[in-house]
Symmetry: C2
Subunit: 200 residues, 2 copies
């Protein structure tokens, strides 16, 4: 049995959104499940002495253009969210809590949250928006809100971000195939090539 893909993402990363629409198909190609691992870029930016992409002179303007163009070239619906970037700690805690409930809940929820932000233009910092996504996948919204506020979940997310950094994660999306690290939606093709060579 092959190890699942570890899919690290921050909801405030457009490239993570693009990747989220294709990660399960990639997993199927490789015969692997996907573990959805919400992280926060803030502490990583801090470690690197950097900040949000769109705030960087020159690079920021290009990034905005590349987000929209990449979506278009891969036929993925995308509306530039506003405000952007935003704090995604609530959405990350909610996803982590749902993963602990088992089944496919975390993936189903994460898809809806990405869609709410990058397609519907909803503010995913809003607890009511997050509750609505839980309800839509058949999970009790009140239980979600309680789970998000659980100190154990808060601590677990903090630990997950630290563990991710310990493993070398510094951006979003970030995928591990076994212990091989790949950063970016634009590395999906590299993952395919890499996996083919491992198999061959």
């Amino acid at each position: 049995m092959k190890k699942p893909l570890d899919f690290y993402f921050d909801f405030s990363s457009p490239y993570a959104y693009l990747a989220s629409t294709r990660i399960e198909a990639l997993g199927q190609e490789l015969g692997r499940d996907v573990v959805w691992r919400p992280i926060l870029l803030g502490p990583m930016f801090q470690a690197m002495g950097s900040g949000p992409l769109v705030d960087i002179p020159l690079k920021g303007a290009y990034a905005e253009r590349d987000f929209a163009r990449s979506a278009q070239l891969f036929d993925i619906p995308y509306q530039r969210p506003d405000p952007f970037p935003i704090a995604t700690v609530g959405a990350a805690r909610a996803t982590l809590f749902l993963r602990a409930q088992g089944g496919n809940l975390a993936a189903a929820f994460a898809h809806r949250v990405f869609d709410a932000y990058y397609v519907q233009g909803q503010d995913i910092r809003d607890a009511a928006i997050l509750r609505a996504q839980a309800q839509a996948i058949g999970f009790d919204p009140a239980a979600l809100e309680q789970g998000m506020a659980d100190p154990a979940i808060k601590a677990a997310l903090k630990q997950d971000v630290a563990d991710a950094m310990g493993r070398g994660v510094f951006g979003s999306p970030f995928v591990f195939v076994d212990d091989e690290p790949f950063w970016g939606f634009d590395r999906f093709d590299h993952i395919r090539r890499w996996a083919a060579r491992q198999a061959g």
Copy 2:
């Protein structure tokens, strides 16, 4: 007649080296010539408040691994150069000077310089190494050295870097198809998709 691809590169960029091995094939696919435009990343890093990729915590270690793995996955010979990164102003001036001599000189020279650094492990800051590449493509090494020292060439490179930044260039490699900007070897596939949509 379609406009040529503008191929901006710093010789100290491994991703530019990878791109240099494929840019002409890409041009042929698109029915476009290639203009080889040497630039220097230094002033761009300064504008962005950043520095060489490999010096950045977390990201640097990944970048080193990704250079070698990308080369391997695309079947491009690559030996991690040492020292790295290096100042490439001499090689850039030489390429710019050769471009002014017309023909295919700049491309032929640039290919050899990339190969000297990333395959042969030669120090391309060394004027003797640059002269040897000129000689290998049938260009008088003494004339090259004179050209590199020409104040007009020095000024032209400075102006080219400023013009590139004015056009939005902040990294290497950087390709314009007409006025559409693409950053990175990993955007070659996006260029193909984009061009197909323009044509369609």
